[in-house]
Amino acid sequence: MMRAATSSGKPAAVWVQAILLLFALLLPLWGGAYWVHVGALLWYYALLASSWALLAGFAGQFSFAHMAFAALGGYTSALIVLHMGISYLPAAIAAGIVLAMVVGALIGFMVLRLSGPYLALFTLAISEVFRMMLMAEEQITRGSLGLQVPRFFSGDSDVPYYYLGLALVAGSLLFMGFLLRTRIGLFLRAIREDEDATRASGVNTTRYKILVFVVTSGIASMAGIYYAHFIGILTPNMLILPEMGIVIAMAVIGGIESLPGAVIGAAIVYLLSEALREYGELRFVLLGLALILVQRFARNGLFPLIERIGRRPAPARADTTAKSTAEKSHAS
């Protein structure tokens, strides 16, 4: 939602994003401590949902390992700070992000030959192995008891975290949006639509597939580090499958092929789930239902519907789907 002026000719979308950004900036003035806390947690999910949308929606790499990268970043940073002292925090953050990016490159390299359900199963297994390691190696990670992590800021207020999270979301949306507007974005979409044809057109698909894993893993690890030093406790529950399910639902409901859409999806899902807390698990029943219905009837999510307001009933396709071969040939 922070990505103002995504492209000209979509006035409604730009206005929606500008209004939402303004709303997000002003929320701590009247929201009260509870909603500031909720908002700060929302930025964690927004970072994950938007970077997963880039990986799965744009590049077509449907990964279940996204939460594992968040956990990798969070645990790395937390363990370094705990062993070396809080003065090493900047180094710890850098180490967490770099490690996640290296592992992301490695996984990107390993899955070069895999696609569709095979890729999903592979990343699911990677994530589960990592979770079981975190559970089992109790001397290092304290297992399911949870690892106590020093927080970023002293004091009880969550307002600094809120603005830090907002800045991270805005920064990564701008960065990913920039990436997508260069030819890299075009190549990624081309790979998603037809990898063989893209390679035949002279694009080094290996390089771009690894690149997208590196970028999205880095952003996911940043989210995990932010979460670790904000909540102050890490458990392996961070990467259980239902958590990944929430992130997938956020991205799909908002619009898997739109980065601001994924952030709006995160906001809708997370704020609703907080507002309806009294309904307990029923909220997640509705989430599952919404996920199926959106996928069945509004495949590009809700954000393109907002975008379409104020536009002439133009060609039905959203601008991010490169279906026709004519569009595909741009990649060459």
């Binding site: 390993m110 359900p117 297994a125 307990g280 997640f284 989430l287 199926i292």
Partner: protein, 299 residues
């Protein structure tokens, strides 16, 4: 020695239940070319349907298994017709992702619905038969024995059905080539519906069989479904025979691993991780699996 035989028999029983779950997943994969990420939830629902059928309809425990399979068959057919349909048309561009998302959505929906409707606490249906069989060094509670025998019967029936009946051969034909099957007068859409229904019924049957042995809980399907994923990859995506062998081997390996590795807590975690690691290695080195069929090769 009796410790070893106990572990082996437990491993065999669990392995047969795994095999049953994985056979359903494989059947759906081979015909629809879709991995059903909702399989664990269907397994869980099967357990609960059986529990309530026994509890409130006064059925014998094996009757509960039959009711569970019937209910899940109908549910699978309804879900396939209502939600999976776009997979066969050009309406959806990226079919794999569509299928993953809707079936994963089904898991979120059903597992939370189970918490709302059935409550978060575990329930235990009555055993198939009280008592324990003692044969020399072999000690086997009757409910495990019966679960194993029913699982074997269901696996044999599935294999026979696929190989020897007209409908089973039609399913196989669709799994080999949708177009060629359509040319000789098989309706691929109907076969997809039937395959999803049968796969769901097998998941429900497995859940109903395991229910008296372990307790029922809304999250009971989470672990078996991951095991089933591992099995279908190792056994070769789309090979029912491969998933039976894979299931039994995985059940045995886990049971013996937990029994013999030092530090039980870690052993439990790492025997589960071991299966996932096998999946990773198999996909990297031999994506067709150990018993893969050529026409279902990774594309």
């Amino acid at each position: 020695m009796s410790y070893f035989s106990l572990l082996t028999i437990n491993g065999l029983v669990i392995g047969l239940i795994y095999a049953l779950t994985a056979a359903g997943l494989t059947l759906i994969f081979s015909v629809l070319r879709v991995v059903n990420f909702g399989h664990g939830a269907l397994y869980m629902v099967g357990g609960y349907v059986s529990y309530y059928a026994i509890r409130y309809l006064g059925l014998p425990p094996l009757g509960g298994v039959v009711i569970a399979m019937g209910a899940l068959f109908l549910f699978g057919i309804a879900f396939e017709m209502l939600v999976m349909r776009p997979v066969y048309s050009d309406e959806v561009e990226r079919k794999d992702e569509y299928a993953i998302i809707v079936t994963f959505g089904l898991t979120i929906l059903l597992s939370n619905l189970a918490i709302v409707v059935f409550g978060p606490f575990s329930k235990s249906p009555p055993p198939f038969m009280a008592g324990t069989l003692i044969l020399g060094p072999i000690v086997l509670p009757y409910d495990r024995l019966i679960a194993a025998l029913v699982a074997i019967a269901l696996l044999c029936a599935t294999t026979w059905f696929l190989a020897r009946t007209t409908l089973g051969q039609a399913l196989d034909a669709v799994s080999q080539s949708r177009e060629s099957a359509a040319v000789i007068g098989i309706n691929p859409r109907r076969m997809c519906t039937i395959a999803f229904g049968l796969g769901s019924a097998l998941a429900g049957g497995a859940g109903a069989l395991i229910a008296p042995i372990f307790a029922l809980s809304p999250s009971m399907g989470d672990l078996p479904v991951v095991q089933a994923f591992i099995i279908i990859v190792i056994g070769g995506m789309g090979s029912v025979g491969g998933s039976i062998i894979g299931g039994i081997l995985l059940g045995l390996a886990q049971s013996l691993g937990v029994g013999y590795l030092p530090d039980p807590n870690r052993a439990l975690a790492y025997t589960q991780a071991f299966g996932a690691l096998l999946l990773i290695i198999t996909l990297l080195l031999r994506p067709t699996g150990l018993f893969g069929r050529a026409h279902l090769r990774l594309e």
